[in-house]
């Protein structure tokens, strides 16, 4: 399966979509989540992650991704809404659900004076399922030094060490906040490959936030896009790419009416480029005079964020 996955990255998505139709157990269910910080508000956040899938949480910096993850982990208190992990309330069954979660920070900077072996000795007693063999396997897999102090670790090594610590108790659900940000391309690929390997077990799930859209495009089955504390969409990756498209054409096609068919538009001397989430509608407006290209996640983030940036 591993080799088939490598040669055909969409293989797994296709198989799983089929499974999804027959049985749908949600690893994560979030409904109507709200949190008010005064200068920033998370509002009516709702999405589900079915078991066996990877969800990418995307959005610009400050969109609320980390807050959502911290609320899931009960590190930040929600003011409204419900979070269920493995079908159980995340606060009422906090200890039970956290036993099944592996959590990785964006910047793991705790206990920098310890080496990896010492950190493992501090963390391991908290997990009944801690598996020394799995830990040693991951340390070897990531080529991590056990006796070097953590403060001497590079960002990539620190992230891999956090993953090794988070995964050694047979976690069913991996939650990661910006695991690939700041990593060089080689280590990023290594981390993403690890996600794929982890997902070979069908009962596992991953939620990871990132503003590196190519990472999400590579591995995620579901995409949740957050902007200004609100969920813009939460769909399968295929649905996202089916729904959104880039419309390109000459400036003569643009007027106030045609602009309203686009979520965001930018125009230059050679024409315009805009995003639509209704390709049929856009075709009705622009006809064959425009070109319709698939939109990347970066395009979606850029054009949907235009409104906000203009307001600001």
């Amino acid at each position: 399966m591993k080799s088939s996955m490598k040669c055909c990255p969409f293989f797994m998505t296709a198989v799983k979509i089929k499974v999804k139709e027959t049985s749908m157990i949600n690893t994560l269910e979030i409904s109507n989540l709200a949190k008010d910080y005064g200068d920033f508000r998370l509002e009516d956040v709702s999405f589900n992650l079915p078991q066996g899938y990877i969800m990418g949480l995307i959005g610009p910096n400050g969109a609320g991704k980390t807050t959502i993850i911290k609320i899931i982990m009960n590190l930040v208190m929600k003011q409204q809404g419900q979070v269920k992990l493995f079908g159980k309330d995340h606060q009422e069954y906090e200890v039970a659900v956290k036993k099944r979660i592996g959590f990785v920070y964006d910047t793991p900077n705790y206990y920098q004076h310890l080496n990896l072996r010492q950190l493992k000795n501090v963390v391991a007693p908290f997990y009944e399922n801690w598996d020394e063999a799995v830990f040693n396997g991951l340390v070897n897999h990531f080529n991590l030094p056990l006796k070097k102090t953590l403060k001497k670790f590079s960002k990539g090594m620190a992230m891999k060490a956090s993953i090794a610590i988070a995964m050694s108790h047979h976690a069913d659900f991996l939650i990661m906040d910006e695991p690939t940000s700041g990593l060089d391309p080689v280590i990023r690929r290594e981390v993403l490959d690890f996600f794929r390997e982890f997902m070979q077990h069908e009962d596992k799930s991953i939620l990871f936030s990132s503003h590196i859209t190519t990472d999400i495009e590579q591995v995620a089955d579901y995409i949740t896009y957050v902007q200004d504390g609100r969920v813009i969409f939460s769909k399968t990756k295929d649905e996202v790419f089916e729904d959104y498209a880039l419309v390109k054409g000459g400036n003569d096609l643009l007027d106030e009416d045609t602009k309203s068919a686009l979520l965001g538009v930018r125009s230059g001397a050679y024409g315009f480029e805009g995003l639509t989430h209704n390709v049929k509608g856009a075709r009705a407006v622009f006809g064959d005079s425009a070109i319709y290209d698939p939109a990347s996640l970066e395009d979606i983030m850029f054009f949907t964020g235009m409104k906000t940036r203009k307001v600001l």
Partner: protein, 244 residues
């Protein structure tokens, strides 16, 4: 789980603990040599004056030193953001708070033992059994009072740390202390009030003197432990809803 959390503190911060206790040991050892050196030879006319300086100095180093040591783990957690990390583990926040109270209480004991041990080299080198300062400082009740004082003081300040975080908590406690001290000074400016308070304090001391020392010790311990319990409950209440 509580034991694991307390053990985690000592296991993870062993190096910092050893360094801090080492510094306290050296400081108090130097202080001991200084005091005994000045007290060696026949007791001079100024002996009492020296004693009145030496005792507060010991009190200051011992109480401040062990108070700072008792906050060591809180400080490390605050600096390294490990609070957030441990709250993400399968542990209840209530347990995290309880463990912090226990490890701080243990740290205060350990620090006081180290401070007491630090007085011994000078004691043996000078053979200073005649020293009035040392005969008083080696009285066990003296150290028990220190310990209860630190536990008492931590019980007052810990809920602020758990509510606001260490840095803001310390700031809040200091502000409250300054306000209270100022209010006290203003109140004491009135001679009638001052006299009333002094009479009350005198009466209270007379009453305390009538109580058996063992009963007094147990009573003080009981009150301090009750205060710690109440303080821990308040801290749990604050920490359970705090955003990390």
């Amino acid at each position: 789980m509580l034991f694991r959390l307390v053990a985690k503190d000592f296991r993870a911060n062993g190096l910092y603990l050893a360094i801090s206790l080492g510094i306290l040991f050296v400081l108090n050892a130097i202080l001991s040599f200084g005091v005994l050196g000045s007290e060696s030879g026949p007791v001079s006319a100024g002996g009492d004056a020296k004693l009145t300086v030496a005792i507060p100095m010991f009190f200051l180093v011992s109480v401040l030193g062990s108070k700072v040591a008792s906050l060591l783990f809180l400080k490390i957690d605050d600096m390294s953001d490990s609070n957030t990390f441990f709250a993400s583990l399968p542990v209840k926040r209530k347990e995290l708070v309880k463990a912090r109270y226990i490890s701080s209480a243990i740290l205060a004991c350990v620090a006081l033992v180290v401070l007491l041990l630090a007085t011994l080299p000078a004691y043996f080198i000078y053979g200073a059994s005649y020293s009035e300062t040392f005969s008083l400082l080696h009285y066990p009740a003296f150290w028990c009072i220190f310990l209860l004082f630190i536990w008492f003081s931590n019980s007052i300040s810990f809920p602020f740390y758990f509510r606001f975080g260490l840095a803001r908590g310390v700031f809040t406690v200091v502000i409250i202390q300054v306000l209270l001290a100022t209010a006290m000074v203003i109140i004491l400016l009135d001679p009638d009030v001052r006299e009333g308070i002094l009479d009350f304090a005198e009466g209270a001391l007379d009453w305390i003197n009538t109580i058996h020392i063992a009963l007094l010790g147990l009573g003080s311990l009981g009150i301090t432990l009750l205060l710690m319990l109440g303080s821990a409950m308040l801290s749990v209440k604050f920490y359970k809803v705090r955003d990390l």
